[in-house]
Protein backbone atom coordinates (compact mmCIF):
# COMPACT_ATOMS: atom_id res chain seq x y z
CA UNK A 1 0.00 0.00 0.00
CA UNK A 2 1.40 3.38 -0.96
CA UNK A 3 1.01 5.64 2.06
CA UNK A 4 3.05 8.51 0.70
CA UNK A 5 0.52 9.87 -1.71
CA UNK A 6 -3.18 10.54 -1.48
CA UNK A 7 -4.80 10.75 -4.89
CA UNK A 8 -8.01 12.62 -4.08
CA UNK A 9 -7.47 16.02 -2.49
CA UNK A 10 -11.16 16.51 -1.85
CA UNK A 11 -12.61 13.75 0.31
CA UNK A 12 -15.84 15.63 0.98
CA UNK A 13 -16.11 15.22 4.73
CA UNK A 14 -17.91 17.89 6.76
CA UNK A 15 -14.64 18.76 8.50
CA UNK A 16 -12.84 19.29 5.21
CA UNK A 17 -15.70 21.38 3.82
CA UNK A 18 -15.70 23.58 6.92
CA UNK A 19 -11.91 23.94 6.95
CA UNK A 20 -11.80 24.67 3.23
CA UNK A 21 -14.45 27.39 3.42
CA UNK A 22 -12.97 28.88 6.61
CA UNK A 23 -9.43 29.09 5.21
CA UNK A 24 -10.67 30.45 1.87
CA UNK A 25 -12.92 33.11 3.41
CA UNK A 26 -10.36 34.03 6.09
CA UNK A 27 -7.80 34.64 3.36
CA UNK A 28 -9.94 36.28 0.68
CA UNK A 29 -12.16 38.54 2.81
CA UNK A 30 -9.51 40.59 4.68
CA UNK A 31 -7.40 40.78 1.53
CA UNK A 32 -10.39 42.04 -0.46
CA UNK A 33 -11.29 44.64 2.20
CA UNK A 34 -7.72 45.98 2.34
CA UNK A 35 -7.41 45.95 -1.46
CA UNK A 36 -10.68 47.85 -1.96
CA UNK A 37 -9.74 50.38 0.76
CA UNK A 38 -6.32 50.95 -0.76
CA UNK A 39 -7.70 51.19 -4.31
CA UNK A 40 -10.37 53.63 -3.19
CA UNK A 41 -7.98 55.61 -0.99
CA UNK A 42 -5.23 55.96 -3.57
CA UNK A 43 -7.41 56.83 -6.57
CA UNK A 44 -9.76 59.17 -4.71
CA UNK A 45 -6.88 60.97 -3.06
CA UNK A 46 -5.18 61.37 -6.42
CA UNK A 47 -8.45 62.59 -7.96
CA UNK A 48 -8.85 65.26 -5.29
CA UNK A 49 -5.22 66.19 -5.68
CA UNK A 50 -5.72 66.71 -9.42
CA UNK A 51 -9.01 68.53 -8.85
CA UNK A 52 -9.72 69.72 -12.39
CA UNK A 53 -12.14 67.21 -14.00
CA UNK A 54 -10.25 67.19 -17.32
CA UNK A 55 -7.00 66.44 -15.50
CA UNK A 56 -8.66 63.50 -13.75
CA UNK A 57 -10.16 62.19 -17.00
CA UNK A 58 -6.88 62.66 -18.89
CA UNK A 59 -4.37 61.43 -16.30
CA UNK A 60 -6.10 59.24 -13.74
CA UNK A 61 -8.86 57.40 -15.62
CA UNK A 62 -6.45 55.65 -18.06
CA UNK A 63 -4.29 54.52 -15.13
CA UNK A 64 -7.35 53.24 -13.28
CA UNK A 65 -8.46 51.34 -16.40
CA UNK A 66 -5.05 49.65 -16.65
CA UNK A 67 -5.13 48.75 -12.96
CA UNK A 68 -8.67 47.38 -13.37
CA UNK A 69 -7.52 45.24 -16.30
CA UNK A 70 -4.60 43.85 -14.29
CA UNK A 71 -6.95 43.11 -11.39
CA UNK A 72 -9.41 41.43 -13.77
CA UNK A 73 -6.67 39.14 -15.08
CA UNK A 74 -4.90 38.52 -11.78
CA UNK A 75 -8.00 38.02 -9.62
CA UNK A 76 -9.12 34.63 -11.01
CA UNK A 77 -5.51 33.36 -10.81
CA UNK A 78 -5.16 34.59 -7.23
CA UNK A 79 -8.52 33.08 -6.25
CA UNK A 80 -7.52 29.75 -7.82
CA UNK A 81 -4.19 29.73 -5.96
CA UNK A 82 -5.91 30.57 -2.64
CA UNK A 83 -8.54 27.87 -3.28
CA UNK A 84 -5.84 25.31 -4.13
CA UNK A 85 -3.84 26.16 -1.00
CA UNK A 86 -6.99 26.06 1.16
CA UNK A 87 -7.82 22.66 -0.34
CA UNK A 88 -4.30 21.40 0.39
CA UNK A 89 -4.45 22.66 3.98
CA UNK A 90 -7.94 21.27 4.59
CA UNK A 91 -6.82 17.94 3.15
CA UNK A 92 -3.83 17.79 5.47
CA UNK A 93 -6.16 18.23 8.44
CA UNK A 94 -9.22 16.27 7.33
CA UNK A 95 -7.41 13.49 5.38
CA UNK A 96 -5.58 11.81 8.27
CA UNK A 97 -8.62 12.17 10.53
CA UNK A 98 -10.79 10.51 7.88
CA UNK A 99 -8.24 7.73 7.48
CA UNK A 100 -7.83 7.23 11.23
CA UNK A 101 -11.61 6.96 11.63
CA UNK A 102 -11.83 4.48 8.73
CA UNK A 103 -8.95 2.36 10.04
CA UNK A 104 -10.50 2.26 13.53
CA UNK A 105 -13.88 1.24 12.04
CA UNK A 106 -12.19 -1.56 10.09
CA UNK A 107 -10.62 -2.85 13.28
CA UNK A 108 -13.86 -2.57 15.27
CA UNK A 109 -15.73 -4.49 12.52
CA UNK A 110 -12.86 -7.00 12.29
CA UNK A 111 -12.20 -6.53 8.56
CA UNK A 112 -8.64 -5.48 9.31
CA UNK A 113 -6.14 -6.20 12.03
CA UNK A 114 -2.71 -4.97 13.08
CA UNK A 115 -1.44 -1.44 13.62
CA UNK A 116 -2.94 1.60 11.93
CA UNK A 117 -0.67 3.08 9.32
CA UNK A 118 -0.51 6.79 8.56
CA UNK A 119 1.96 8.81 6.53
CA UNK A 120 5.10 9.97 8.36
CA UNK A 121 4.24 13.65 7.81
CA UNK A 122 0.59 13.36 8.83
CA UNK A 123 -0.46 15.63 11.70
CA UNK A 124 -2.16 12.72 13.53
CA UNK A 125 0.77 10.29 13.26
CA UNK A 126 1.57 10.65 16.98
CA UNK A 127 -2.06 9.93 17.90
CA UNK A 128 -2.12 6.89 15.57
CA UNK A 129 1.05 5.57 17.22
CA UNK A 130 -0.59 5.81 20.66
CA UNK A 131 -3.72 3.99 19.38
CA UNK A 132 -1.44 1.31 17.87
CA UNK A 133 0.17 0.76 21.30
CA UNK A 134 -3.37 0.20 22.69
CA UNK A 135 -4.24 -2.22 19.88
CA UNK A 136 -1.01 -4.24 20.37
CA UNK A 137 -1.60 -4.44 24.15
Amino acid sequence: MNLNKRKAKFIGTALQNKTLILVFVATVLPTAIIAVCLYYLIFNMLAWQLGIPEAIAYNLVPVARKVNLIILIALPVALFVIWFMALELSHRIAGPLYRLEKELNDRIEGTKSGPIQLREKDELKALADKINKLIIR
Binding site: L50, I52, A55
Partner: protein
Protein backbone atom coordinates in the same frame (compact mmCIF):
# COMPACT_ATOMS: atom_id res chain seq x y z
CA UNK B 1 -5.65 43.71 20.09
CA UNK B 2 -4.57 43.25 16.47
CA UNK B 3 -8.23 43.10 15.39
CA UNK B 4 -8.91 46.38 17.21
CA UNK B 5 -5.93 48.00 15.53
CA UNK B 6 -7.05 46.81 12.10
CA UNK B 7 -10.59 48.14 12.69
CA UNK B 8 -9.14 51.45 13.88
CA UNK B 9 -6.93 51.66 10.79
CA UNK B 10 -9.86 50.94 8.45
CA UNK B 11 -12.00 53.55 10.25
CA UNK B 12 -9.20 56.12 9.92
CA UNK B 13 -8.90 55.38 6.22
CA UNK B 14 -12.67 55.74 5.73
CA UNK B 15 -12.78 59.02 7.67
CA UNK B 16 -9.78 60.37 5.76
CA UNK B 17 -11.19 59.41 2.36
CA UNK B 18 -14.74 60.54 3.00
CA UNK B 19 -13.36 63.73 4.49
CA UNK B 20 -11.62 64.41 1.20
CA UNK B 21 -14.52 63.29 -0.94
CA UNK B 22 -17.15 65.17 0.93
CA UNK B 23 -15.84 68.52 1.92
CA UNK B 24 -17.28 70.09 5.04
CA UNK B 25 -20.62 71.82 4.77
CA UNK B 26 -20.23 75.53 4.28
CA UNK B 27 -21.99 78.62 5.58
CA UNK B 28 -24.26 79.55 2.72
CA UNK B 29 -24.31 81.57 0.61
CA UNK B 30 -20.56 81.65 0.18
CA UNK B 31 -19.24 84.84 -1.38
CA UNK B 32 -15.89 85.40 -3.06
CA UNK B 33 -15.49 89.14 -3.54
CA UNK B 34 -11.78 88.98 -4.57
CA UNK B 35 -11.08 92.26 -2.77
CA UNK B 36 -8.03 91.38 -0.73
CA UNK B 37 -4.66 90.40 -2.11
CA UNK B 38 -4.79 87.22 -0.03
CA UNK B 39 -8.27 86.24 -1.33
CA UNK B 40 -6.79 83.27 -3.15
CA UNK B 41 -5.37 81.76 0.04
CA UNK B 42 -8.58 79.78 0.60
CA UNK B 43 -8.38 78.34 -2.93
CA UNK B 44 -6.15 75.48 -4.03
CA UNK B 45 -4.17 75.65 -7.23
CA UNK B 46 -4.64 72.60 -9.48
CA UNK B 47 -2.21 72.27 -12.34
CA UNK B 48 -3.20 70.32 -15.44
CA UNK B 49 -0.66 71.41 -18.06
CA UNK B 50 1.52 74.31 -17.01
CA UNK B 51 0.59 77.17 -14.75
CA UNK B 52 -1.99 79.85 -15.44
CA UNK B 53 -1.31 83.11 -13.61
CA UNK B 54 -4.14 83.81 -11.19
CA UNK B 55 -3.90 86.99 -9.13
CA UNK B 56 -6.17 89.39 -7.33
CA UNK B 57 -5.94 92.88 -8.75
CA UNK B 58 -7.06 95.44 -6.26
CA UNK B 59 -7.05 99.19 -6.62
CA UNK B 60 -9.14 102.05 -5.20
CA UNK B 61 -11.99 101.73 -7.67
CA UNK B 62 -12.03 98.05 -8.55
CA UNK B 63 -10.87 94.59 -7.54
CA UNK B 64 -11.14 91.28 -9.34
CA UNK B 65 -9.48 87.96 -10.04
CA UNK B 66 -7.28 88.07 -13.13
CA UNK B 67 -6.29 84.95 -15.07
CA UNK B 68 -3.67 84.87 -17.78
CA UNK B 69 -2.85 81.69 -19.68
CA UNK B 70 0.00 81.19 -22.12
CA UNK B 71 -0.16 77.65 -23.54
CA UNK B 72 -1.13 76.39 -20.09
CA UNK B 73 -4.01 74.84 -18.19
CA UNK B 74 -4.42 75.15 -14.45
CA UNK B 75 -7.30 76.09 -12.26
CA UNK B 76 -8.15 77.30 -8.80
CA UNK B 77 -10.29 74.95 -6.75
CA UNK B 78 -12.50 75.50 -3.72
CA UNK B 79 -14.06 72.66 -1.71
CA UNK B 80 -17.60 73.46 -0.63
CA UNK B 81 -20.38 71.06 0.23
CA UNK B 82 -24.03 71.91 -0.22
CA UNK B 83 -27.26 70.52 -1.60
CA UNK B 84 -28.08 72.17 -4.96
CA UNK B 85 -31.74 71.27 -4.50
CA UNK B 86 -31.90 73.48 -1.38
CA UNK B 87 -29.50 76.19 -2.56
CA UNK B 88 -29.35 75.96 -6.34
CA UNK B 89 -28.00 79.33 -7.40
CA UNK B 90 -24.54 80.44 -8.41
CA UNK B 91 -23.68 83.87 -9.76
CA UNK B 92 -20.60 85.76 -10.79
CA UNK B 93 -19.38 88.28 -13.28
CA UNK B 94 -16.62 87.82 -15.78
CA UNK B 95 -14.81 89.70 -18.49
CA UNK B 96 -12.84 88.26 -21.37
CA UNK B 97 -9.80 90.28 -22.39
CA UNK B 98 -8.48 87.79 -24.93
CA UNK B 99 -9.85 84.56 -26.37
CA UNK B 100 -7.67 81.54 -27.16
CA UNK B 101 -6.90 81.21 -30.84
CA UNK B 102 -9.02 78.33 -32.14
CA UNK B 103 -8.87 76.97 -35.67
CA UNK B 104 -11.95 77.24 -37.81
CA UNK B 105 -14.12 74.15 -38.10
CA UNK B 106 -12.58 71.70 -40.54
CA UNK B 107 -9.11 73.22 -40.44
CA UNK B 108 -6.04 71.47 -39.08
CA UNK B 109 -6.17 71.11 -35.32
CA UNK B 110 -9.88 71.87 -35.21
CA UNK B 111 -10.85 68.57 -33.57
CA UNK B 112 -13.10 68.73 -30.54
CA UNK B 113 -10.23 68.13 -28.11
CA UNK B 114 -8.06 70.76 -29.83
CA UNK B 115 -10.92 73.22 -29.40
CA UNK B 116 -11.29 72.54 -25.69
CA UNK B 117 -9.82 75.82 -24.49
CA UNK B 118 -11.87 78.61 -23.04
CA UNK B 119 -10.95 82.12 -21.99
CA UNK B 120 -13.35 81.86 -19.08
CA UNK B 121 -14.71 78.75 -17.44
CA UNK B 122 -16.34 77.95 -14.11
CA UNK B 123 -16.82 74.42 -12.79
CA UNK B 124 -19.34 72.99 -10.40
CA UNK B 125 -18.20 69.54 -9.27
CA UNK B 126 -20.48 66.82 -7.90
CA UNK B 127 -18.28 64.17 -6.24
CA UNK B 128 -19.40 60.58 -5.83
CA UNK B 129 -18.00 57.82 -3.64
CA UNK B 130 -15.76 56.75 -6.50
CA UNK B 131 -13.82 59.34 -8.50
CA UNK B 132 -14.81 57.89 -11.89
CA UNK B 133 -18.48 58.59 -11.15
CA UNK B 134 -17.88 62.23 -10.22
CA UNK B 135 -19.79 64.59 -12.49
CA UNK B 136 -19.05 68.18 -13.43
CA UNK B 137 -20.79 71.11 -15.03
CA UNK B 138 -18.63 73.61 -16.89
CA UNK B 139 -20.00 77.07 -17.60
CA UNK B 140 -17.95 78.57 -20.43
CA UNK B 141 -17.67 81.69 -22.51
CA UNK B 142 -16.81 80.60 -26.03
CA UNK B 143 -16.20 82.72 -29.07
CA UNK B 144 -17.89 80.40 -31.58
CA UNK B 145 -20.37 78.03 -29.93
CA UNK B 146 -23.89 79.47 -29.53
CA UNK B 147 -25.36 80.25 -26.12
CA UNK B 148 -27.35 77.33 -24.75
CA UNK B 149 -25.08 74.66 -26.24
CA UNK B 150 -24.64 71.71 -23.93
CA UNK B 151 -21.81 69.42 -25.01
CA UNK B 152 -20.01 66.47 -23.60
CA UNK B 153 -16.38 67.17 -22.83
CA UNK B 154 -13.93 65.42 -25.17
CA UNK B 155 -12.24 64.07 -22.05
CA UNK B 156 -15.19 62.42 -20.30
CA UNK B 157 -18.92 61.84 -20.53
CA UNK B 158 -19.11 62.91 -16.88
CA UNK B 159 -18.19 66.47 -17.80
CA UNK B 160 -20.86 68.60 -19.49
CA UNK B 161 -19.95 71.93 -21.04
CA UNK B 162 -22.66 74.59 -21.01
CA UNK B 163 -22.05 77.63 -23.18
CA UNK B 164 -23.56 80.62 -21.40
CA UNK B 165 -21.77 83.44 -23.26
CA UNK B 166 -20.76 83.50 -26.87
CA UNK B 167 -18.90 85.73 -29.28
CA UNK B 168 -16.49 88.57 -28.88
CA UNK B 169 -18.94 91.48 -29.05
CA UNK B 170 -18.83 91.73 -25.24
CA UNK B 171 -15.05 91.51 -25.03
CA UNK B 172 -13.58 93.81 -22.35
CA UNK B 173 -16.99 94.21 -20.73
CA UNK B 174 -18.10 92.81 -17.39
CA UNK B 175 -20.95 90.34 -17.93
CA UNK B 176 -23.03 89.10 -14.99
CA UNK B 177 -24.10 85.47 -14.85
CA UNK B 178 -26.65 83.71 -12.69
CA UNK B 179 -27.28 79.99 -13.02
CA UNK B 180 -29.51 77.43 -11.39
CA UNK B 181 -27.13 74.51 -10.82
CA UNK B 182 -29.94 72.08 -10.04
CA UNK B 183 -31.82 72.78 -13.27
CA UNK B 184 -28.64 72.88 -15.37
CA UNK B 185 -27.53 69.51 -14.01
CA UNK B 186 -30.89 67.93 -14.77
CA UNK B 187 -30.80 69.37 -18.28
CA UNK B 188 -27.22 68.22 -18.89
CA UNK B 189 -27.28 64.77 -17.29
CA UNK B 190 -30.98 63.96 -17.33
CA UNK B 191 -31.16 63.14 -13.64
CA UNK B 192 -31.12 64.78 -10.24
CA UNK B 193 -27.75 65.95 -8.93
CA UNK B 194 -26.07 64.80 -5.76
CA UNK B 195 -24.33 67.20 -3.42
CA UNK B 196 -21.95 69.83 -4.76
CA UNK B 197 -18.42 69.15 -3.51
CA UNK B 198 -16.32 71.86 -5.13
CA UNK B 199 -16.22 74.76 -7.53
CA UNK B 200 -13.30 75.75 -9.74
CA UNK B 201 -12.24 78.45 -12.14
CA UNK B 202 -10.02 77.84 -15.15
CA UNK B 203 -8.74 79.85 -18.08
CA UNK B 204 -6.78 77.58 -20.40
CA UNK B 205 -4.95 77.55 -23.71
CA UNK B 206 -3.01 74.28 -23.64
CA UNK B 207 -4.82 72.69 -26.58
CA UNK B 208 -4.76 75.72 -28.87
CA UNK B 209 -1.24 76.68 -27.77
CA UNK B 210 -2.23 80.31 -27.67
CA UNK B 211 -2.87 82.91 -24.98
CA UNK B 212 -6.02 84.00 -23.20
CA UNK B 213 -6.96 86.38 -20.47
CA UNK B 214 -10.08 86.80 -18.37
CA UNK B 215 -11.24 88.45 -15.18
CA UNK B 216 -13.69 87.09 -12.61
CA UNK B 217 -15.48 88.74 -9.74
CA UNK B 218 -18.46 88.73 -7.35
CA UNK B 219 -18.70 84.96 -7.20
CA UNK B 220 -21.54 83.85 -4.94
CA UNK B 221 -22.60 80.26 -4.52
CA UNK B 222 -25.30 78.26 -2.73
CA UNK B 223 -28.41 80.41 -2.37
CA UNK B 224 -32.06 80.47 -3.36
CA UNK B 225 -33.27 82.74 -6.12
CA UNK B 226 -35.35 85.33 -4.27
CA UNK B 227 -36.14 87.26 -7.43
CA UNK B 228 -38.64 84.62 -8.57
Amino acid sequence: MIFNKVVLLILNIIIFVTGNTFALSAQLPKKFPFKEKNALDEWQEKIFKGRVLYSVKANKSDSYLAAYSDNTASGIFYQIRFDPKQSPMISWKWKVIKFPKKGSIGSKGSGWIEQDDYAARLYVIFPKLSFNLTKSLEYVWDRALPVGTIKESPYSKNIKIIVIESGSQSINKWIKEKRNIYEDYKKAFGREPGKVGAIAIMTDTDNTRSTAEAHYDELKVGYKDESK
